[in-house]
């Protein structure tokens, strides 16, 4: 009887061992997304004939992390991961860039395989006008940026002067898309910048008025090609953007002219100096066409951007927007807040 009881214990013990044995593989399976891709090393590995038995066992314990970001369709949502400021700030047209110039950067703080979101609000105070804009950006991996921005341009007293009404406000919707073609802002070859192509489709909400002012269309699409690189050895960010556009004052005054002026190639350049992880100062220049003959001037700014937290970046700038709608000397202050995840 004792013997039988003992044998039962022995068998039960063995059974427990057997039952326990599948556990390690389950543990080993869990961290697979973090483990090296075994197939990739076939191409890149130095010794393809290596003995699989010498592979060190996965020592990582699966840790159920309550802070783990949600995954949707295989994308990490709002998981972040970008180095500070490498998503840029937000332009007046709602794209990732400097204050005035579009950059090749992709908005949002996501890395490859992630989805990020960003929102902004910008105010520009000029001697005779007021600009307000706000918008949202969606970043998909290190590849795609989609953006929407609304700009409201208050003509204040000038509205009465121009005969369009005291405080007449022009409104512009901008739908942007940007695709990173190649390169990396920070990594890779020093001479290879991050290069992106994009569009900005803009729709003036003042169709009748902008046509009356001489514009050919109330909506139009800009095409952009941007190259941006952080030259770490000099702590310098350099950007150059070519924009093929017919927009008058970004599109607030419509597109092209009834007289026939149309698309022209324009340039946007930025230089930024990194003072710290969180702070950058710089300057920008942006050329603009003058299709309407209203003295549409090139724009420039001197800016400072600061990441207050990983998610909140403030940008302050002195802007010189030259002449707008025949009224010269439009120099003033630019303030923008960006929240990004």
């Amino acid at each position: 009887m004792t013997l039988a009881a003992f044998s039962f214990i022995a068998i039960a013990g063995a059974a427990v061992q057997i039952a326990a044995s599948p556990a390690p593989p389950r543990n080993a399976l869990a961290p697979v997304p973090e483990a090296p891709p075994l197939l990739a090393q076939g191409e890149a590995g130095p010794n393809p004939g290596r003995d699989p038995a010498s592979e060190p066992p996965p020592e990582v314990e699966p840790q159920p992390d309550p802070d783990e970001p949600p995954r949707i369709a295989g994308f990490d949502v709002l998981a972040g991961g970008k180095l500070l400021l490498t998503n840029g700030v937000t332009t007046v047209e709602g794209s990732s860039g400097g204050g005035l110039a579009r950059w090749a950067t992709i908005g949002g703080r996501q890395m490859a395989g992630g989805i990020g979101l960003s929102g902004h609000a910008t105010a520009i105070e000029l001697p005779d006008y007021g600009w307000r804009s706000y918008g949202v950006m969606l970043g998909i991996g290190d590849r795609v940026e989609l953006s929407y921005a609304r700009a409201d341009f208050d003509t204040r007293d000038i509205g009465a002067l121009l005969g369009i009404g005291q405080g007449y406000t022009f409104n512009l919707d901008t739908f942007g898309a940007k695709l990173r073609m190649t390169g990396d802002l920070v990594y890779g070859q020093t001479w290879l910048p991050q290069i992106a192509v994009g569009i900005e489709h803009k729709r003036s909400r003042d169709g009748a008025l902008v046509r009356a002012l001489g514009a050919a269309d109330a909506s139009g699409t800009d095409y952009t090609l941007s190259a941006t690189k952080l030259l770490l050895a000099r702590s310098l960010l350099v950007n150059a953007t070519l924009r093929y556009t017919a927009a008058n004052e970004l599109g607030l005054l419509g597109f092209g002219s009834a007289a026939g002026a149309g698309y022209r190639l324009q340039f946007e350049g930025s230089l930024g100096y990194q003072l710290s992880r969180r702070a950058v100062v710089g300057a920008e220049y942006r050329t603009k066409p003058d299709n309407l003959g209203l003295g549409d001037d090139d724009w420039l700014d001197v800016f400072a951007a600061y990441s207050l937290t990983d998610n909140l970046t403030l940008t302050a700038a002195y802007v010189d927007l030259g002449s707008i709608a025949t009224i010269p000397g439009q120099r003033g202050g630019f303030l923008s807040a960006q929240v990004a995840f």
Binding site: A4, F6, S7, A35, P36, V60, M111, D184, G188, R277
Partner: protein, 178 residues
């Protein structure tokens, strides 16, 4: 039935328990690597040592070396970077199965060589050293942030910090595998 049960029970009892202190690694042919009694490092397969393995050409600036606190400062920054990364949940798993004693030394040598502080780099080249790790750019960013913390703690001016990063950033081509 009862006979079979009893017989199997007897057989089990007759089985000898393995002796205490059995060398299971030897039983299963597992090669045990012994840490070097002096350096505390695990042995690695032989490879050709060369400063070219450091992945970039060095600076030649006494001031830059000074900004990093000389050779000792550089070694401390490298060790601190590894410590921070071992404790960083984003990338700790990559370091868990590696010889961080050796890594602290070779990383320190690499920084020292690249900054022109006169060390020789004795580690492996970047592609070999990072093979099979599956490092992502996000992992690289985490490491950069830890290095930035280490350099900030050591009082390295930001522009000098970036000069070191400038040497490391292009190596992503050899390091980032996915």
């Amino acid at each position: 039935m009862l006979l079979t049960l009893t017989a199997s029970a007897v057989l089990m009892l007759l089985q000898q328990a393995p002796a205490e202190g059995t060398d299971w690694d030897a039983e299963f042919g597992v090669e045990v690597k012994q840490r070097d009694p002096v350096t505390g490092e695990l042995p690695v397969d032989p490879y050709e040592q060369s400063n070219a393995n450091a992945g970039a050409r060095p600076y030649d600036s006494a001031r830059l070396v000074d900004d990093f606190g000389g050779r000792e400062g550089i070694a401390r920054i490298a060790a601190r970077t590894v410590e921070l990364s071992e404790a960083d949940p984003r990338i700790a798993a990559i370091f868990a199965s590696h010889d961080t004693v050796r890594l602290k030394r070779t990383l320190g040598e690499q920084f020292c060589y690249l900054l022109g502080a006169g060390c020789d780099y004795t580690g492996r080249d970047m592609r070999t050293a990072h093979a099979e790790m599956g490092v992502t750019k996000a992992d690289m960013n985490a490491l950069v942030e830890n290095l930035q913390v280490a350099m900030r703690e050591a009082g390295v001016p930001f522009a000098a910090q970036n000069r070191l990063l400038a040497k490391l950033a292009p190596m992503s081509r050899e390091v980032v595998m996915r």
